[in-house]
Amino acid sequence: MAEYVGVLLILALAVALTGAMLALNLRIAPRRDLAAKRDPYAGAGGVRSAPRRRFAVRFYVVAILFLVFDVAVVFLHPWSAVLRELGSPGLVAMALFIAPLGVAYVYAWGKGALRW
């Protein structure tokens, strides 16, 4: 775990740096409050709507597909690092593991889940 001390160190410094920049901005930036300035941007016409509205379902579909495929990808990483030692049995095993995923992929494509 010793190699991760560097990560912690740079994390602490990055947080400190970001915090310092935010604090400096609070300190030196002017603050002039105007009602119009706090209006959310709504284009040249200035027509406002309710932003917290519903949006297209396709974004949820992408999230679900992501979960399905990403879990499989995680298995590929350790497998790839030792593929040379595993040899052809390893390759066949992974092909068998990925094959159902290929079926799911073709099904999702056929159902139009990948169509935007």
């Binding site: 190699e3 991760y4 001390v5 560097g6 990560v7 160190l9 740079i10 994390l11 410094l13 990055a14 947080v15 740096l17 970001t18 915090g19 920049m21 935010l22 400096l24 901005n25 030196i28 930036a29 002017p30 603050r31 002039r32 300035k37 706090r38 209006d39 959310p40 941007y41 709504a42 284009g43 406002r48 932003p51 917290r52 509205r53 949006f55 297209a56 396709r58 974004f59 992408v62 999230a63 597909l65 992501f66 495929f69 990403d70 990808v73 590929l76 990483h77 790839s80 690092a81 030792v82 593929l83 040379r84 040899g87 052809s88 390759l91 992974m94 092909a95 992929y105 990948l114 935007w116």
Partner: protein
């Protein structure tokens, strides 16, 4: 040991924030200007010397810090303030796994020019890039603005889709190198592949040694290089994959409601991302810090004749760091060339390209490379 680590951390942060970030910000503006037949930044000067616009990033930084940060009515107070930090901090932390050099032994101490020589270095890059993407999604979500929300959901879909394509695209390289540790990849690439075939029949003498290709990732699997670079650029939402912040379409998308330091942090995150992608591409595909045809042993043995081995190792370390930085900057230039020469993908085109183009291609590349590796039983991919 702790002191050495602290010194290394400060050096890496210094190289990044004082050297590479202003240079990249300048390249982005100056090179884009050249490509678009514009003059580019030409106003900021010290005693009338503009230095080709090199002072512009500094002026921009001061301007962002000194300007008011406006929070729109109805925005989520906490999330709106925290989102820029969540976008920036992970991309800075990514720098920890970039190997700026190989591993060196002087006397009894071993030195490496990487902050965190993690055995899962590349996974850190994947995980943190998603975390940073969340910062952009939160920014758009918390702003209480139509355009920002649209940018946020687009950025979210893009982040997760790119994640799969990007993670798949590097698997062939892991198989070829047999490791996920970035510094080990550099060591494996520090050699040459003979061209073999006809050439081996010719009597070339000494020249034969130089008639070889460096065993870099880009030579062993160029398809992998192209897919990873494009997916990584898409994951960092830079043009032409910037439909989530498209200026001419949704007015800046997720960052439309940011001003002052918040906007500055998002822009800084974008620039650091360019540097980190260049760093990973260099480490995995361009031989890391290796100098073509001059392996580490060769440099050290050649120089130690004159100055002794300790000093020769130091010289080699310096040459490696310079070689790495040169390669890194050239990948940044390549990224700016790509973003300057392609029109923006519409959000549906982007998703099509990722799900129906990059993902099958990357998966095919995995099994093609795997097949070759198993069939050859070692050797190149």
């Amino acid at each position: 040991m702790t002191l050495l680590l602290l010194a290394k951390t400060l050096t890496v942060l210094g190289v990044l924030l004082v050297g590479l970030v202003p240079l990249t910000a300048w390249l982005e503006r100056r090179q884009s200007a050249l490509m678009q037949d514009r003059v580019g930044p030409a106003r900021v000067n010290v005693a009338t010397a503009t230095l080709g616009g090199l002072l512009q990033p500094l002026a921009d930084a001061i301007a962002r810090l000194a300007k008011e940060s406006v929070r729109p009515r109805g925005a989520d107070r906490v999330l709106h303030a925290l989102a820029p930090a969540l976008a920036l901090v992970p991309v800075i932390v990514m720098v920890a796994v970039i190997p700026f050099g190989a591993r060196y032994t002087i006397g009894s101490t071993t030195l490496s020019l990487v902050l965190a020589d993690a055995d899962a270095g590349v996974l850190w890059f994947f995980a943190l890039s998603t975390l940073s993407g969340l910062g952009f999604v939160l920014a758009g979500w918390s702003s209480n603005s139509d355009y920002a929300l649209l940018g946020a959901v687009r950025a979210g879909a893009q982040t997760v889709s790119c994640q799969i394509a990007m993670a798949l695209s590097l698997v062939p390289m892991f198989a070829i190198y047999g490791t996920l540790r970035l510094s080990d990849m550099g060591l494996v690439q520090d050699r040459s592949i003979g061209l073999g075939g006809l050439l081996s029949n010719l009597d070339l003498g000494v020249a034969a040694e130089w008639l070889s290709l460096p065993a870099w990732g880009i030579v062993q699997n160029p398809v992998c290089f192209a897919t990873f670079l494009l997916c990584a650029m898409a994951a960092s939402r830079q043009p032409p994959f910037d439909s989530s912040s498209a200026g001419s379409e949704i007015a800046g998308g997720h960052t439309v409601e940011y001003s002052g330091v918040g906007l500055g942090l998002f822009q800084l995150a974008g620039v650091v991302q360019l540097v980190v992608i260049a760093g990973i591409v260099t480490a995995v595909f361009l031989g890391g810090s290796a100098i073509p045809w001059l392996s580490q042993d060769r440099i050290i043995s050649a120089v130690s004749g004159f100055y002794g081995e300790g000093f020769a190792t130091l010289i080699c370390m310096g040459a490696h760091a310079i070689a790495f930085l040169l390669k890194l900057v050239s990948v940044i230039v390549l990224q700016v060339v790509l973003r300057g020469s392609m029109p923006r993908l519409r959000d549906d085109q982007l998703m099509d390209w990722l799900w129906k183009g990059m993902m099958p291609l990357a998966l095919l590349n995995i099994f093609a490379t795997g097949f070759v590796l198993v069939a050859v039983g070692g050797g190149g991919g």
